[in-house]
């Protein structure tokens, strides 16, 4: 099993994981599930970086993974605060319920 095959298969797994997250964002209408699917997508992107870094034996892939981790943490903090705000206001977590913003 050569390293190149491992790279290809690892990237395939990462892209399937990304597509699963994308399907979640597109199909689900619950804002909580959409945020969760975005987390899955970010995780898949980080996985691609780590796998590519492991293929060439460089630490840069893991460094990029740490930056994606930081971004996911900041995104989820703001996203969940907005989610709580929306749920308090419209008593619902349906994404379509807040599609009409009125300033």
């Amino acid at each position: 099993m050569s390293a190149g095959v491992l790279l290809g298969h690892g990237l395939a797994v990462a892209s399937i994981l990304f597509v699963i997250g994308l399907i979640g964002v597109l199909v689900r209408r619950n804002l909580l599930f959409q945020l969760l699917s975005i987390e899955i997508m970010l995780n898949a992107a980080g996985m691609a970086f780590v796998i590519a870094g492991a293929r060439w034996g460089q630490a840069d892939g893991q460094v990029m993974f740490i930056f994606i981790l930081v971004m996911a943490a900041a995104e989820v903090a703001v996203g969940l605060a907005l989610l709580l705000r929306v749920s308090r206001r419209v008593r619902d977590l349906d994404g379509d319920a807040v599609s009409a913003m009125r300033g």
């Binding site: 099993m1 390293a3 491992l6 298969h9 690892g10 797994v13 399937i16 994981l17 699963i20 997250g21 399907i23 979640g24 199909v27 689900r28 619950n30 909580l32 599930f33 945020l35 969760l36 699917s37 987390e39 899955i40 995780n43 980080g46 996985m47 780590v50 796998i51 870094g53 492991a54 034996g57 460089q58 630490a59 840069d60 892939g61 893991q62 460094v63 993974f65 740490i66 930056f67 981790l69 930081v70 971004m71 996911a72 943490a73 900041a74 995104e75 989820v76 903090a77 703001v78 969940l80 605060a81 907005l82 989610l83 709580l84 705000r85 749920s87 206001r89 977590l93 300033g103």
Partner: protein, 168 residues
């Protein structure tokens, strides 16, 4: 040890697919945790133990726990008490538990020493730290700004303050 990689990848994909198709948010979170643990095992098998540890500590340990807090906050009221009875029936936790058991079995195989469990050369925390605070030190500073902005934004949005023109 390449079989460990494929097994963990399969667990990650199955758990992620199950997560986005659940109706109950709590059950979905259970599957997402299993998926993240599986990705951590993948990281370990390809020789990135530091990324795997961070995956468990930050993703499964902090971000998903934040999701659990929010799910618990949203479910207040009498219906939540009723839901509590049907919350963790065996049918609900037996599949994620089984997937996690597969990961545990992989861990046992790795630790029991029938091979080092790593395909190719491992990149440890030392190399990652040297790269992080060497060529990437400016990016670390920018990331800290991002975290500060996220903290301020979450504190403001969560404080219940009036946003101008909003909340009637």
């Amino acid at each position: 040890m390449i079989a460990l990689f494929y097994l963990a990848s399969a667990v990650a994909l199955v758990a992620a697919a199950m997560a986005i198709s659940r109706r109950n948010a709590f059950h979905a979170l259970l599957y997402v945790v299993v998926s993240l643990l599986a990705v951590a095992v993948v990281f370990f098998t390809i020789g990135a133990p530091f990324a795997g540890a961070l995956e468990i500590i930050v993703y499964a340990g902090a971000i998903i726990v934040l999701f659990v807090f929010v799910v618990m906050m949203l479910n207040l009221g009498p219906s939540a008490v009723r839901d509590e009875y049907g919350f963790l029936t065996p049918a609900m936790w037996i599949v994620p538990g089984g997937l996690a058991a597969i990961l545990l079995a992989e861990l046992v195989v790795i630790i029991s020493g029938t091979g080092d469990g790593v395909t190719g050369a491992a990149i440890g925390p030392r190399e990652v730290g040297l790269a992080l605070f060497g060529p990437y030190v400016v990016a670390v500073e920018v990331a800290s700004f991002l975290l500060l902005a996220g903290l301020v934004g979450a504190a403001y949005l969560g404080s219940g303050a009036r946003i101008s023109g909003g909340d009637r």
